[in-house]
Amino acid sequence: MSDKQAEIVVLGSGPGGYTAAFRAADLGKKVILIERFDSIGGVCLNVGCIPSKALLHAAKVMEEAESMADHGIQFGKPKVDIKKLAAWKDGVVSRLTGGLKALAKQRKVEIVTGYGKFTGPNEIAVEHDGKTTTVGFDNCIIAAGSRPVNLPFIPEDERIFDSTGALTLKHIPKKMLVLGGGIIGLEMATVYHQLGSQIDVVEFLPQLMNGADKDIVKPYEKWVKQRYNKIMLETKVTTVEAKKDGIHVTMEDKKGQTLTEKYDGVLVAVGRTPNGLLIDADKAGVQVTERGFIDVDKQQRTNVPHIYAIGDIVGQPMLAHKAVPQGKIAAEVIAGEKHFFEPNCIASVAYTDPEVAWVGVTENEAKEKGIKYGKGNFPWAASGRSLSNGRDEGMTKVLFDEETNRIIGCGIVGTNAGDLIAEAALAIEMGCDAEDISLTIHPHPTLSESIAMATEAFEGTITDLYMPKKKK
């Protein structure tokens, strides 16, 4: 007999977990939400999406203020009160997590705090402060998420931190190495650069933001190259030594040449790994892969019919906006609905400055799969709005299926790319073709019209650029 019992127990209260829990409660189920930390909301709310966006906003404001100096408004060098900035960021976080707790209370979702692990196919034991509470369930939704990858050869030192540590702003290094040229590392680079750190980036692959097409990363790369110290691609880190005078990092490029640099701080951002092997899933009979992922079907079911899994723990992409719909579906399926997780596309966004966003098929993928596509490009140097924003480096690219003229992919680099990409996602899901997009009136002057313009460029009807040899 368990200490507590519920129809649905959700393990983990990140965006996937709390969405599943709240949806299930709205569908009339008795729900218990297990969260090991005192505040709910998981990585996203506490040490991920939200705090990073708050700091990125601060960075953006600083950048914009600084750039106005050339255009007649001089702010001068800003005084940065790091503690106050961190406190504001924490305030945003606690406002949201507090709000979540209120939502949970309104829905009568019971939150059990502690580290949950399976004891059997229908029970989880939650440990907190030396005490264990057993929670029995008819159905379980595993939303235990992921954690930053730890590279074993990297020593422990307070000057070496991951994204969670970076968000605390405990230490603004004078000279900082961002180890890993993916989205998370580069977002933190954006923040720390504005806060005064000199930035080096080292990345093993030939490109930053792997997964995005080269042409939309290029304007971003150009922008940061002018501001950061060094961007080292196709370079691997061979040793990291924590010495009194700094962190000594030896790197080797593709030609075999090595280089050792000394840094005041190193951000290790080499990816995230799922938590599947940390919850005794095997005691419930749930299969977990060697890497720690839990495989599920399109209704989020694991190999055990009454146990579901969602979010980072089930695979890539590890994004909150993937976890959220999966959470909804898991709750709805348990409630008897015939719902399936079958989106046509999931957008990726780097909230750097400039932002980089892409959705649907990339040119790389299209070439790999032999998909015949046409594309339209619109450089923001021709965008009245972008120029009015004092920026000209952006670009919008739209890909269309050659046969049906339907939109299959979109890539955007520039300020607000993350907000703009949603239109493309909708267009792809709705099966819009080029005409549908170009005939939809986009307001002027906005950045959103770049999508219509790129489409017109594809069609050959664009008037804001001169492209004589286009088809129509």
Binding site: K338, H339, F340, E342, E403, R406, I408, E429, M430, G431
Partner: protein, 523 residues
């Protein structure tokens, strides 16, 4: 301007009787409407209107004899948009063709559109009453055939002025349903139905399991087009393969109505095909142990699968079975004479390769027998290849490996294929690919005995030939005496939907003839 409508290509016939005139001057016809009926010595055929229009004058009468090219009538073709011309546009065309000219004032006729092969279909529900404001494609009445229920949609948006039928009425294409005043507030409203009517009209056809072929959903990157809400609805309705749903939405998108019609169609055909729809008693349940010792064993997988297939074939195919004896006296003499030489060439020469060859030749001469009905039952697939399956008994159960291009292979090659398959079959190593692509099946009982049997057609093939044990029989020699001849019993079951009695008879007689004189196979 009026144009002459002539008798089209009617095959090899000329001077064919006109047995019925189905239109008169002043009638408005849609494309494909029947104009006159002709009767040859074989069949009756109706001549369809090649386009929509108004009949100006009819120049033939019952009893006339006509040939290809003779003028039947003169037709004033639809003057308005090109959209009126396309073949499958249904009757609403003539209702709204006057719309662009007139304003919204006058009520327009709404007729029963093309509803497939049915006529005198019962109206089971009238969904409208005078005064109702309907959107384009809103359902007006529900008709029920013996196969399916179909809703007739409004061909244009408008207000119902009069309802011209009631529940229980029996209607056919062209009958009046209602008078509707088109929604004329904006000029765009009236002309739109003319242009867009290609969409509403085909909708009723889709309720019958035979869906209009051009309605396959557009596909990009392997995915059929449906918005997220439609994809969810599809899943809720149990549809997992969107590409199989006929789509009538703009640019090939699947709409909510498409999903509903698709599912309705499947339910109707499932109910008419399955046992529940047949109104059968449930299977009897008997506790056999009550009557003596029993031993229960699980049904082997192959037996279960083939059992399910046979049960379906039995129910779905209307079987006709023909029996015939083939005189294989000469064939056997030839074969036995060749046996030793064949063995030296590594070939085991049994009668089966000869039967395969005879069947293969017959198949190339009887295209109907070498065909299959399409899955939706609306078309017939005529194969240009001849692959013959030969049923073999294996330790795992009955299997039918297929001899490819049997019409192009010699006897020895066919024999070699059979030997190869036999070996594989004995070792349980017959590959699934070997059993695919067959046009026809031969089921030989070999030396077992029995005379004739009624084999079950191996769907989706159209026929199957059963072969039993040859026997010496006294055959009338035509001169008052009897001579001993070796007669091979043949049993041909055929799918009567595809093959008629005369053809089945001719086919089996042809096969028997080839077997009785194998020199024919050389020709």
């Amino acid at each position: 301007m009026a144009e002459d409508i002539k008798v089209p290509d009617i095959g090899e016939y000329s001077n064919v009787d006109v047995i019925e005139i189905m239109v008169q001057p002043g009638d408005t016809v849609a494309a494909e409407d029947s104009l006159i009926a002709l009767e040859t010595d074989k069949a009756t055929m109706e001549i369809p209107a090649p386009k929509a229009g108004v009949v100006k004058a009819v120049t033939v009468k019952e009893g006339d004899k006509v040939s290809e090219g003779d003028v039947i009538l003169s037709l004033e073709a639809e003057g308005s948009s090109a959209e009126a011309a396309p073949a499958e546009t249904a009757v609403p065309a003539e209702a709204s063709s006057s719309a662009p000219a007139s304003s919204s004032g006058a009520p327009q006729v709404v007729n029963v559109p093309d509803i497939g092969e049915y006529s005198d279909v019962e109206v089971i529900e009238v969904l409208i009453k005078p005064g109702d404001e309907l959107q384009e494609e809103a359902s007006m009445v529900t008709l029920e055939t013996d196969k399916a229920t179909m809703d007739i949609p409004a061909p244009f948006a408008g207000t119902v002025a009069e309802v011209k039928l009631q529940e229980g009425d029996k209607v056919s294409q062209g009958d009046l349903i209602a008078m509707m005043t088109p929604a004329g507030a904006s000029p765009a409203a009236a002309p739109e139905p003319v242009a867009e009517k290609a969409a509403p009209a085909p909708a009723p056809e889709k309720t019958a399991p035979a869906a209009a072929p051009q309605a396959t959903p557009a596909v990009t990157g392997g995915k059929a087009h449906a918005s997220p809400a439609m994809r969810r609805l599809a899943r809720e309705l149990g549809v997992s393969e969107l590409a199989t749903v006929p789509a009538t939405g703009r640019k090939g998108c699947i709409t909510e109505e498409d999903l509903k019609q698709f599912v309705k169609g499947i339910v109707q055909s499932a109910q008419s095909g399955g046992g529940a729809g047949l109104g059968l008693l449930p299977d009897p349940v008997v506790d056999f142990a009550k009557f003596g010792d029993i031993e229960t064993q699980p049904l082997p997988r192959i037996k279960k699968i083939s059992g399910d297939n046979l049960a379906r074939n039995w129910v779905r195919v209307p079987h006709i079975t023909f029996f015939e004896d083939a005189d294989i006296t000469e064939l056997e003499a030839f074969r036995k004479g060749k046996k030793a030489a064949a063995e030296k060439a590594g070939v085991k020469l049994t009668p089966v390769p000869f039967i395969v060859k005879a069947v293969a030749k017959a198949l190339s001469e009887f295209p109907n027998v070498n065909s299959s009905l399409s899955a939706d039952g609306a078309s017939q697939v005529f194969k240009q290849y001849v692959h013959v399956g030969v049923a073999v008994d294996t330790p795992k159960g009955l299997m039918v490996p297929v001899i490819r291009d049997a019409d192009q292979k010699g006897i020895y090659d066919i024999a070699r294929d059979l030997m190869e398959y036999s070996t594989q079959a004995r070792e349980g190593k017959l590959k699934p690919e070997s059993m695919q692509g067959g046009c026809f099946t031969i089921s030989s009982l070999g030396g077992i005995g029995t005379k004739y049997f009624a084999p079950i057609v191996n769907m989706p093939e159209a026929a199957i030939l059963g072969v039993s044990k040859a026997d010496m029989k006294p055959i009338y020699d035509g001169n008052g005496g009897f001579t001993p001849r070796l007669m091979l019993p043949l049993s041909l079951s055929a799918d009567h939907r595809v093959i008629d009695g005369a053809e089945a008879g001719k086919f089996i007689v042809t096969v028997a003839q080839y077997l009785s004189d194998i020199k024919e196979l050389v020709l």
